[in-house]
Symmetry: C2
Amino acid sequence: MSERITMSHGAGGTIMQDLIKRYIVAHLGGSGVEVPLEALDDSAVVDEIVLKSDSHTVKPLFFPGGDIGRMAISGTVNDIAVMGADPIALAAGFILEEGFPIGEFEKIVSSMKETCKEAGVYVVTGDTKVVEKGALDKFVINTSGIGKRSEALESNIQVVKKYRPFNSRWLLDSNIREGDKLLVSGTVGDHGIAVLSFREGYGFDTEVKSDVAPLNKLAKRILMVGGIVKIKDPTRGGLSNALNEWSDKSKIGILIHEDAVPIGEGVRAACEMLGIDPLEVGNEGKLVIATVPGMAEQILDELKATPKGKSAAIIGEATHRFDGVVMETAIGGRRIVSAPAGDPVPRIC
Amino acid sequence: MSERITMSHGAGGTIMQDLIKRYIVAHLGGSGVEVPLEALDDSAVVDEIVLKSDSHTVKPLFFPGGDIGRMAISGTVNDIAVMGADPIALAAGFILEEGFPIGEFEKIVSSMKETCKEAGVYVVTGDTKVVEKGALDKFVINTSGIGKRSEALESNIQVVKKYRPFNSRWLLDSNIREGDKLLVSGTVGDHGIAVLSFREGYGFDTEVKSDVAPLNKLAKRILMVGGIVKIKDPTRGGLSNALNEWSDKSKIGILIHEDAVPIGEGVRAACEMLGIDPLEVGNEGKLVIATVPGMAEQILDELKATPKGKSAAIIGEATHRFDGVVMETAIGGRRIVSAPAGDPVPRIC
């Protein structure tokens, strides 16, 4: 009863998952909708509507490569897109601290607008609350959104079915099977390291920029190629957490190759200096993609043909040879990639 | 540029409306959806989906008659219901302060569950963030939700059309016409006074309890009777703000009768003592209803037959004889009921 909330309870790893399962799903689950709360997937699906909500508490509000407004749009758009849906509308809930400069507020809203344009979606409703000075660290945004089944999802699933049985109607964490290939759309760890470095003044920020971006068009483009069984945006807890969720929910082992995972030089240097695993650092503009093996190369080519996907790589595959996530290291050894307890960088989103 | 956010920017009155129009709608409007952001109605409507988002920052988290969990469900359910829709799913975004007792968190989630049961709706997705101690006053929730056109709305509109032309597909603030009767479902001001009194220790709380409740079933029940052109839940800025929004968007005068507006004794006494207008105080479990004149008595009877509507009353009518909202006072005079600059009680929702 004297247990208290810690930063780890919001850090996207196993400690957060436990809190959600024990206190949120236990009380609020049981809806019986197509993709319910207890699936703990990227979004829910109800009556063919994809629904997602995300709060943004990133600190600072403006950082190299982005700001909280760009994040607020991208995060929700991406969570809807990775289910195989087109985002059709967003809702924005602003909470402001008394005394917050209106000029900064307008900069944030203006950044939301630009990001909406990039994604091709609108904010159609919202809510504004103000709390007294000292009751909030400046500003938070919640963005929720709805999406509808993408036509590209239908054609994608037809391609999957040429290769193997597939009875899921959506792209779910539980869809991965033996032999499926795993790709990332670019370098990992950029967002978390950019925010951390800028916030703490480490100076890596001269080279590391956040990747925050809406990825719905990229997701749709690769769905048009076909053969994809799941996409995920590896935010809090990074690639490690995303892969462990897949392994857990699909009940299959995942093998990744250390050499194959693209990591920028600045991120690598910062992570080494700070003793952080770049695989556990959150991203805001990357996709992890699972495809049937026969389509992996075509998906890779399609990714590489885009600016956001130019550093894409095939990083591993699903296998029944073991449980959990294992990484084949550069020197030929193997190590377990555990689900992180939480993202090593706090308040990155 | 040196302008800063004040508590009034979140208090539901004209100052908030100005902020929203100048900085939010100006940038984010233009979607072209059926009921867009710029309508500033209770919810948006996109592709037949009603969408709403609401953040809750009420202080304290537990108060006489309710808590933030009950509010978080009721507020969003009500905003969807008043458009003429059945809520079909909710999304909950939690932001917690480091150090918040998990026992209290569970009490709140458990209250959400009970309120969901009462409303007949589920939370199907969510998000959990934690900020460091001092960066938030304990806890806030954002609840967003989606609804679908209620069958009761169709039958209701058929009844309206027996009395006059009606070309709106939803219950909108702009639907009110000459002669329409205005009702409230019960006493006004209870929620704001209950929270204020309990928070400041005025002692009125022994008699005044918040009315916070989901009203979707009540709204549906009166829609089944028919003849309703708009329903609204008069939250921040109270009845005054709700009526001024109707007057403004429907471009019609509104006359209300002071004697007819139900106000509890405790609220009346507290408002007199504190110099607050009870019509400007927020409610969380009341409906204001506009009906064609021929159906007002039947709607009143239906309301009075329910526990939540037992103090319902016809309080006025729409008229072209003047602009704005005017109140006929108990002693026979008339005074203008201006749109409040903001709710006189801060952080009630």
